[in-house]
């Protein structure tokens, strides 16, 4: 079996998590405690990838990241590579379509940190950053693991957006889910079956992990 699609998928998932989770943590923390009236708009924006069809997302991503777009041209001159049809473009797309999966569990977890514990941290002399690092984040840990796992698995499984932004270029943008599609079209059912089983196994283990963790999280008594 050709392992490159799996490697590619794993690499995409790992990089997405590495870049997305810190970004999402900051965003989620701000959303959890901000009292700005426009907060609802930002929350809706974050939730958009959940409700938009992947094709719409892919279309807008192609439009804004493509070779003849402002961002695409700037990136090309900066790095020498194109965004679309490349791993880099997939990464940007993955970060965007995983936003709700990362931000929402984190936001719920941060909201669950009692306000008086945060205030106690301030009164104990901790700065906003130290409060975040030493108190809020450890207490939001289960949310962080959920966000990480969901983003990881969702990236592994994403199809529509990856196909539109990356094409199906073997060893570059042909992730596991697209490789399965490709194998089916090539009448290679055995290959498609093997890859599907692997993806199913990973996804299932991840969901089990998340459920176990969420139960443990609620047992974190005061």
């Amino acid at each position: 079996m050709d392992w490159t699609p799996l490697e590619l998928s794993l690499r995409l998932a790992l990089w997405t998590c590495a870049l997305l989770i810190p970004l999402a943590a900051i965003c989620a923390r701000w959303l959890a405690w901000s009292r700005w009236r426009g907060k609802v708009l930002l929350e809706a924006l974050v939730a958009l990838p959940l409700v938009l069809p992947p094709t719409v997302l892919g279309y807008y991503l192609l439009l804004s990241l493509g070779g003849d777009s402002l961002l695409g041209g700037w990136y090309q001159s900066l790095v020498g590579r194109q965004l679309v049809f490349n791993f880099d473009g997939l990464l940007v797309a993955a970060i965007i379509f995983n936003l709700p999966f990362a931000v929402q569990p984190l936001q719920r977890a941060f909201e669950g940190v009692p306000q008086d514990v945060r205030e106690a941290a301030w009164c104990a002399g901790l700065s906003a950053w130290r409060t975040f690092w030493k108190v809020e984040l450890p207490l939001a840990w289960p949310g962080l693991v959920t966000a990480l796992t969901l983003s990881f698995v969702h990236t592994l499984g994403e199809f529509g957006v990856v196909l539109m932004v990356g094409g199906s270029i073997p060893a570059k943008t042909q992730t596991l889910s697209i490789a399965i599609y490709d194998r089916v079209q090539a009448f290679d059912d055995a290959g498609a079956g093997r890859m599907s089983a692997i993806l199913l196994g990973i996804a299932f283990s991840a969901v089990v992990l998340v459920y176990l963790l969420s139960r443990r999280g609620t047992a974190l008594g005061r």
């Binding site: 009164c123 002399g125 207490l139």
Partner: protein, 372 residues
Amino acid sequence: MADNRINGLEVRLQQHSPIPLAAEFHCARGEMLAIVGPSGSGKTTILRMLAGLARPTDGSIHSAGEPWLDTRTGVFCKPRQRRVGYVFQDYALFPHMSALGNLTLAMGHVPQGQRRQRALELLDMVNLSGLESLHPGQLSGGQRQRVAVARALARDPSVLLLDEPFAAVDQVTRRKLHLELAALRDRLLMPTLLVTHDLEEAAALADRICVIHHGETLQTSTPEVLFRHPHSALVARLMGMRNIFQAQVVEPADAGRGCRIHWQGRDLEVAERAGFAPGDPVSWTIPASKVLMHRRGRPSRGEHENPVSGIAGELTHLGDEILVNLWVDGDPKTWLSFFISHHVAERNDVRAGVELAVSLLADGIHLMAPEA
């Protein structure tokens, strides 16, 4: 004294909404001031403003001469800049850290190497040695409260703020914690503010009590003064006094003697020299301890001070004593409350419905402005 006052806490807070406030008080170094009032009177809000967790529309807070808040000059120090030790109502301990961890996290100002030692000393001071590696989830309510106090002290605070710190524990534990806090007092060199709705607690622990109602400071004095000389009927009611009545001044105070007031068809002698003119309406109050029951069945020997007779209404057994409500002249709408021991009740056959007479001691009657 003046020096202590300058080095203490000076507070003035004013606000219309969302919570109305008109509070003004001070607390000297080493003094414990209890802020007492009914629920919703703004006590916790005041404490939060002192800590920097809330901000009034107008006011100033100075600690040891340093301005923490001054709306006129726009000064506002954040909580971490203020060095306050705050004990929250539900303790707000860091659940993911041990007791030791809770304390060392508040010791940012102490060099790294000394933190553990100091934390252990503090835990020892609050009688928690040996429990330093336990997490809050594994501690009892009383133990958690002690950790919260120790954490507040770990900060080396310039002001100690306690928000109903005994509310969440049972009566027995509460008494124990009272004793411990009282024992800690001589180590507390900073102004300490204790918010509570429990008058007895305030009277037992605090040097002075500040009575708050709807965000307004009504009176700030020592417990004795508050009980004996409340400024108004409202304060008297908030202090839990039972005998509050309206009367009229008959004779004003004179040099050498107090005044006389007319109440319920009789004249009462008042030792206090209040500045009321004849005919002025007044409110008056008398502590239950200054109402003495006449022995029944014995002919009255000479004059008793301010005698009042009536029928015993309700009798309420409160532990060692009995609270008697005397219906003055048989009128159930006007009653005088006083305490007698079981022994006296038995000897005098005091039951509901029997005739009784009492004396109101002249030096116990306190006159106040009439109620609106």
